[in-house]
């Protein structure tokens, strides 16, 4: 029996952190100010207080306290609040990888999709962003309006994962 638990997490502050020019300079300022590098495509960086997850070439999903960032961006980018439109859904248990293969097209079972990795994909016709927290948990960022539909889909699929 493959196990996975599906739970909705409370709201968190989420931002789109976008760089429109001088990316190297911003990256340098960022690393100096924050103590870690801007994460590469498909990965995340930071801590629970402030995590940046890279899903797009010029945009990072930022979760946590963003107050330090406008000055880092200066006039090379912008920060935009987006958290209202996103539900955080935690998939925990050893079965999360297999669950993500249901109705999916992305290789969540790949060993290369390791802790700290991120991917944006389509599952059951809905654009979902994934972040591997540990071998036993994966966080999914789901569009608010589709949350009900996806939760239902996952709950049904979880009944027959084997």
């Amino acid at each position: 029996m493959t196990e996975v638990t599906i739970s909705t997490l409370p709201a968190a502050p989420l931002w789109a952190f976008e760089i429109w020019r001088n990316p190297d300079a911003v990256a340098t300022r960022f690393a100096a100010a924050m103590g870690f590098a801007l994460p590469k495509m498909g990965t995340s960086g930071g801590s629970d207080a402030l995590r940046l997850i890279r899903y797009e070439p010029t945009v990072w999903l930022l979760e946590g306290d963003a107050s330090a960032l406008p000055s880092i961006l200066d006039t090379d980018g912008a920060l935009t609040a987006i958290g209202g439109g996103i539900t955080r859904v935690l998939l925990s248990g050893t079965g999360w990888r297999r669950l993500l293969m249901e109705g999916g097209v992305f290789d969540a079972e790949s060993p290369a999709f390791a802790v700290g990795c991120s991917a944006s994909t389509i599952i059951d016709h809905v654009n979902i962003r994934l972040h591997v927290q540990s071998e036993e948990s994966c966080l999914a960022y789901v569009p608010l309006s589709y949350t009900q539909g996806i939760l239902h889909f996952w709950q049904e699929a979880a009944k027959a994962l084997d």
Binding site: A16, G77, V105, S145, A160
Partner: protein, 922 residues
């Protein structure tokens, strides 16, 4: 057909066929169990309703089709050779009336000489209605089983998988390939359509035995490989994507965990096809009688299922393989009456069998249920033998379907008289019997063409092939389509080579020059529910739920779909219908105040020093002079110059703008903005973020909206087309003073997760001012009366800014998308449809009706939206009318023949309410 040929002792389940209960043994296919119970007649053919039995032991079976299961799990046209018996299985024969033994449809067989290939094309002339009369009976006679009438109670799953190596077919070659790859550290999937792997080793024991099979399976799994049985690789698509169909329950069986089947989308690094070959029948008159079986199938029934399908057996062959069948039958106690070997000389296989060389079967005799005798030609002399089973082997056809679906080519193997896989542009290779079929001997036996079946299920005979040739249907595709050859549920697995040989013979060319039809997915038929997957329940379209769904649901509104969204259409009070509720709500907005949920509007935050440049590229209006805290109406053109969306643009900070546009066009606008920003103008310093779902939106409108707002925010509300960031119920909100209704109005935007308390505060304040909630229906009344446009109604993708009277707002500086398209001459010619208002002179104006000058005239326009004057009453509408701007005052008819409604209307300006816009001013 003889009776049961194996002991009853190990029979552990039972099944029902045509109402009778029979015992079965674990591991039996339905075909094996039927044979074991002495049942020879299983089905009726498609066209002539000829009695048919079991011909094969695999998925290529053309004859033994039955309906399995009950209620919503009923699966018609199930091959008895491809369903494993479970306790309680219910099967019914099909395409017969009143029953299998006595089928009145067999009359079609008697009239066979008339029902030749292409028969339908040559008769039933007269009117289309007359054809429909005949067609009614033809349709009733056609078809095979009956579809279930009930909904499917089970679920179907779709799952993705990725692997380095996908091996299709778990015979000895496939198992070995999978073992090797998995132990080399590769991610491996091995699929087998049978219930067990290595089944051919039971039929034909080799050095590798069942112990080797199970040990290999263990090693594959231990190395991380996945073995999927009851799984068929049914489609090979682009870039090595293979679809697998896995049965988690047998046809008609209740699945253990609710899922009947799973569709796998496997992306493979490499695909290895070890799909083997299928045996060919031979063409001779009455070769379709129950009791005529393929040789390897006979051997499978004997060795794997312990069923001996006959006691007195004639074998007809053109190769060595059939001698293995003779041995298997002899071991099982059957008598080999004769072996008819097409080859001219003894093949060294005789082993005491009565073998005739240069011998061919010529015909069979028997009853509906069984075979009684076989006649043949030996060195040109006819002979006859009493027999209850004729096992035939006409050679072997490699299963090349997947290779061909992958875009691979074939080459001709002359010894085997078969096509084998050659090159492929995908990463696929074929191994085992599918790559190297056994050699056969072919001659051109002279047999009568009539009743010599090549396509058993569709009743296509050599005579039909000959007729198609004579009538000019000479390409293999014409032949197929004219005769229906290879188009039955077996897709020609047993028939194509026989027909192709005949076609080549007619053309006087070698078989490879005659051509070959295309192999298309699926390899074997796939349950529709499986393709739909979980999406079957919602058509693949999740309902999109408002952030404030719970708040609305508690009020039990009438919901209205809008794309995938569902929004309240009206909030009826007890006893009110939709129209009454909507009119009450609209009146409340006109006379007091109302509030509504506008969350679904498309919204984009555009920031950065180049925000204006981007916005003035996308919007056809000017944006640059907008002061901070101000907003204005805007619209957007396609590149061809037609209006495709509209909305508002707000400057909320020095370098930050909010752009709104229509709900229905939200995805299109998101793509358009992204295209302009990233593809056309990557150099811009600008960020475009889709915040459609981030903000919930609440609109408050009406003469008392301002005082409601003042109470809510404790300060002077922004004036019309101004914006302010403030708080309501201690939650940060952005207020845009914009009006869709024609009244003084405000849109309040709030982080969707914090929307409920804001809504609550607003509702309290609105109700306190004597207002109420309003839904989409009232909103529609309000905007029509005001003359505001809607994307999908007035903005229908065919109207220019001028047609919509928006041209005065066009950005004089140009440079916006669509400015080039606008210059095309037809966009400013006379006769264009233009936006007008319509007021009823008599009757009520039907929405969607046509505008004509008199009954019987062709339409000159149509009604895009209709409503009633909210306070005064009277039917009004917006419409599009040819040269409408010049026709104010003219009377027309708005007619709806499909609804039997019409109204006399007067053309007026498209503003029925406060055309001066005075109600916006404080």
């Amino acid at each position: 057909m003889t009776g049961p040929s194996r002991p009853n002792t190990d029979q552990d389940s039972s099944f029902i066929f045509d109402g009778m209960r029979y015992p079965a043994r674990k591991g039996d296919t339905l075909a094996a169990a039927l044979l074991a119970n002495g049942i020879g007649l299983v089905g009726r053919s498609f066209k002539y309703h000829r009695p048919r039995g079991i011909m094969t032991a695999g998925v290529e079976e053309p004859n033994a089709l039955v309906t399995v299961g009950e209620g919503g799990r009923t699966e018609p046209n199930t091959r008895a050779t491809d369903v494993f018996v479970y306790d309680g299985l219910v099967a019914r024969s099909q395409n017969r009336w009143p029953n299998l033994s006595l089928d009145f449809g067999a009359i079609f067989g008697l009239a066979g000489p008339v029902f030749s290939a292409g028969f339908y094309y040559k008769t039933f002339f007269g009117s289309a209605k007359r054809w429909m009369f005949y067609e009614h009976f033809i349709r009733k006679a056609a078809g095979l089983g009956n579809a279930p009438r009930d909904a499917d109670p089970d679920r179907f799953s779709q799952r993705a998988a990725f692997c380095d190596v996908l091996v299709v077919g778990a015979g000895p070659a496939g198992i070995e390939a999978a073992l090797e790859a998995s132990e080399a550290g590769k991610r491996v999937i091995l699929v087998e359509q049978d219930e067990i792997i290595g089944a051919s080793l039971i039929r034909d024991p080799q050095e590798q035995d069942s112990a080797w099979v199970s040990e290999s399976a263990d090693r594959i799994r231990a190395a991380g490989g996945r073995i999927l049985t009851r799984t068929t690789a049914s489609g090979y698509w682009e870039h090595d994507l293979v679809t697998l169909t896995q049965r988690l329950a047998e046809p008609g069986q209740i699945p253990a965990n609710g899922v009947a089947q799973r569709l796998w989308h496997v992306r493979a690094g490499q695909v290895i096809l070890a799909t083997g070959s299928s045996e060919r029948p031979m063409a001779f008159p009455h070769n379709d009688r129950p009791g005529v079986m393929l040789s390897q199938a006979v051997r499978t029934y004997v060795r794997r299922f312990g069923v001996c399908p006959g006691q007195r057996v004639v074998i007809a062959t053109n190769n060595d393989d059939a001698y293995l069948t003779a041995h298997a039958l002899r071991e099982a106690g059957a008598q080999i009456v004769a072996i008819l070997d097409a080859r001219p000389a003894p093949a060294g296989q005789a082993n005491g069998f009565t073998t005739f060389n240069n011998a061919h079967p010529l015909s069979t005799k028997g009853s509906r249920h069984c075979l009684k005798s076989v006649s043949g030609l030996v060195d040109g002399v006819s002979k006859s033998w009493d027999a209850d089973l004729l096992a035939v082997s006409g050679g072997f056809t490699p299963v090349v379907h997947l290779h061909c679906q992958a875009g691979g080519s074939l080459e001709w193997n002359d010894a085997a008289q078969a096509f084998v896989p050659a090159q492929s542009r995908q990463n696929v290779k074929t191994i085992g019997g599918a790559a190297t079929p056994a050699a056969i001997f072919t001659s051109a036996p002279v047999v009568p063409a009539k009743k010599s079946f090549v396509d058993f299920q569709n009743d296509v005979t050599l005579a039909d092939v000959d007729l198609a040739w004579a009538e000019g249907y000479r390409s293999v595709e014409h032949l197929k389509r004219y005769t229906t050859l290879g188009m039955a549920t077996d897709q020609g697995k047993t028939s194509n080579m026989g027909a192709l040989a005949r076609l080549a013979e007619k053309q006087g060319v070698a078989i490879p020059e005659a051509g070959l039809t295309t192999f298309r997915p699926p390899y074997t038929p796939v349950t529709m529910g499986l393709f739909a997957g979980a999406a079957a329940k919602d058509a693949g379209a999740h309902k999109r739920r408002l952030a404030l769904y719970d708040v609305h649901a508690a009020k039990k509104p009438i919901w209205q779909p809008l794309g995938y969204w569902f929004r309240p259409r009206a909030y009826p009070m007890t006893g009110e219908n939709l129209a009454e509720a909507a009119m009450r709500e609209a009146r409340s907005v006109r006379t007091a105040v109302g509030m509504t949920d506008v969350s679904t509007l498309a919204k984009f935050e555009v920031s950065g020093p180049d925000a204006v440049t981007l916005l003035e590229t996308v919007c056809a209006t000017s944006v640059g002079k907008l002061a901070i805290g101000r907003g204005r109406y805007t619209f957007m053109l396609r590149e061809d110059g037609f209006v495709f969306d509209d909305g508002t643009v707000w400057r909320i900070d020095e370098n930050r703008y909010l752009l709104t546009s229509s709900t229905g066009g939200a995805d299109r606008m998101a793509t358009h903005l992204s295209y302009v920003r990233n593809y056309l103008h990557p150099e811009l310093s600008v960020s475009v973020v889709n915040v459609q779902e981030h903000h919930a939106g609440i609109a408050i409108a009406g003469p008392r909206a301002k005082s409601v707002l003042a109470k809510l925010i404790g300060e002077e509300p922004p004036r019309h087309m101004s914006t302010v960031a403030t708080k309501i119920a201690d939650v940060a909100v952005l207020i845009l003073a914009a009006s869709y209704s024609g009244e003084r109005a405000f849109e309040i935007y709030v982080d969707a997760r914090n929307a409920t308390p804001v809504w609550g505060a607003c509702e309290t304040a609105v109700v306190a001012e004597g207002g109420c909630l309003y839904g989409l229906e009232a909103m529609e009344f309000l905007r029509i009366e005001k003359g505001h446009l809607v994307v999908g109604a007035e903005i229908d993708g065919r109207m220019t800014p001028h047609d919509l009277a928006l041209d005065k707002m066009l950005n004089k500086a140009g440079g916006f998308i669509g400015s080039a398209g606008l210059t095309r001459p037809a966009l400013s010619e006379a006769g264009r449809r233009q936006l007008v208002g319509l007021e009823a002179v008599e009757g009520s104006i039907p929405e969607g009706s046509m505008l004509v000058t008199a009954d019987g005239k062709s339409p000159e326009g149509h009604v895009s939206a209709s409503a009633f004057r909210i306070l005064e009453g009277g039917s009004i509408a917006l419409g599009q009318l040819a040269d409408g701007f010049l026709r104010h005052g003219e009377e027309l008819i708005a007619t709806s023949p499909t609804r039997g409604q019409r109204a006399r209307v007067r053309v007026v300006a498209p503003h029925f309410y406060d055309s001066a816009g005075e109600r916006y001013r404080d």
